[in-house]
Symmetry: C2
Subunit: 256 residues, 2 copies
């Protein structure tokens, strides 16, 4: 059975997260609905590099599925998904990959960007894509604190409730805060992430900058291994999965 | 009477252009409606650096108006506009300026960016903010052609019908095409622009890249002084007014 891989962009505000659930419109559910129309067979499961939370966006999510069609027209699949889910989901790349490719287990690393809009007026052109904070933040300080999580650490302080990962130890490869006009962007690359981990890191960087926390550094919060010492969970709509990288190839995804 | 200047961002898709017209929702009309509520007096006219076409966005439009209130609370005006027109218009800066300041006539230059999305899948996260073109364009060639309009020229070939400017001669200070991930962005700075001029320049750069035109260079099209020799008028929703610059000060606006 051919193994089809798609790189997709989606606006998380149109879906109740990735995972199929009865009675709600999810990314997995909508993709499977369209695939059944196009390929004339039930496609399940559709694998993803990771399940994004409700409201989280993606510019380069990677998914794969198997079809019984011997020579599936992957471009037709791509155009059908992009057209039927217009403005909500778009296919950026479509190809047939080896049988042993799995979008989740074959991944080596992935990048998320958390976007904050920090200025007088709330978001308009980036409405629903950024966390608006009117009070002045200190991006230089946030960048210094962001560096502290690089490496292999126990991320218990940044682990969301209900996380079912076997271990709270994760490896962060890159972590920095960049100023981009009125935006402050937290960019983080890791081999894997706990539930809500990026949103908790972003919220903690903001709360450190606002001086809302008892512990005054990312290092101290990390060492505490206590979720209560970290900051707020930043809202889902500021987060975007940029790309996923696989063995022996460059990153799949739209962002740089 | 105090002269109040505001720097504003807006999403052009929510309005029928700048200028007040009976029976339609315009940016000028909505601003005057809110100002009357906040300042408890009829405010008219509200001056703008220029009237953007219906559908065109702004990240740094500059406007000004006079009020009879001796000490107007400009921050309250800013917050009221941003809150009442939430998601549609936002005030980025508010101050009181000298009487002789006029957002249109005091301006020295302004920058527009025309954004094209050039990849397999249509826009999702930038839906309504970019012109989606699926066929592969040649941004290097577009950049070379874009340079040809720098300087003082007769822009008759790029003048929209109904343009009431006294002369078709305009001065372009910067003109370039940049690649930004899957986006191709045409950035142009000028002292002033004719009606539809930036959209006609962007459409012509695209049509030159697609080899849709008889004349094969921007220079030849400019020299022809004939609108029929230039390319298509690019759709309004890909265009954004980034900033407006004034004498003796830096650019007012959100973009870099």
């Amino acid at each position: 059975m051919p193994n089809v891989r798609l790189v997709i962009e989606y606006d998380g505000s149109h879906f109740h997260g990735w995972q199929m659930q009865p009675g709600v419109r999810t990314i997995e559910g909508e993709i499977e609905r369209v695939l059944e129309m196009v390929l004339r067979e039930k496609i399940h499961p559709v694998y993803a590099s990771g399940r994004t939370d409700a409201g989280v966006h993606a510019r380069g999510q990677v998914i794969n599925f198997f079809t019984s069609q011997e020579q599936p027209d992957v471009l037709r699949v791509a155009h059908s998904l992009s057209n039927i889910l217009r403005g909500q989901l778009s296919v950026l790349q479509a190809d047939i990959v080896p049988d042993d490719f799995n979008s989740r287990y074959s991944s080596v690393s992935k990048q998320y960007t958390y976007s904050i809009l920090n200025r007088l007026g709330p978001a308009v052109l980036d409405y629903g894509k950024v966390w608006y904070i009117g009070s002045k933040l200190d991006p230089q300080r946030m960048n210094e604190e962001a560096k502290a999580v690089i490496g292999e650490h126990d991320f218990t302080s940044f682990r969301g409730t209900g996380c079912n990962a076997k271990t709270p130890v994760k490896t962060i490869l890159e972590s920095e805060v960049l100023v981009d006009g009125p935006f402050i962007r937290y960019r983080v690359v890791g081999t894997g992430f706990l539930k809500h981990m990026v949103r908790n890191l972003a919220g903690t960087l903001v709360d450190l900058s606002r001086d809302f926390l008892s512990l005054k550094s990312m290092g101290a919060i990390l060492a505490a291994r206590d979720r209560k010492q970290a900051g707020v969970t930043a809202p889902a709509h500021g987060l975007c999965l940029d790309w996923v990288r696989y063995k022996d190839e460059s990153a799949a995804g739209a962002a740089r």
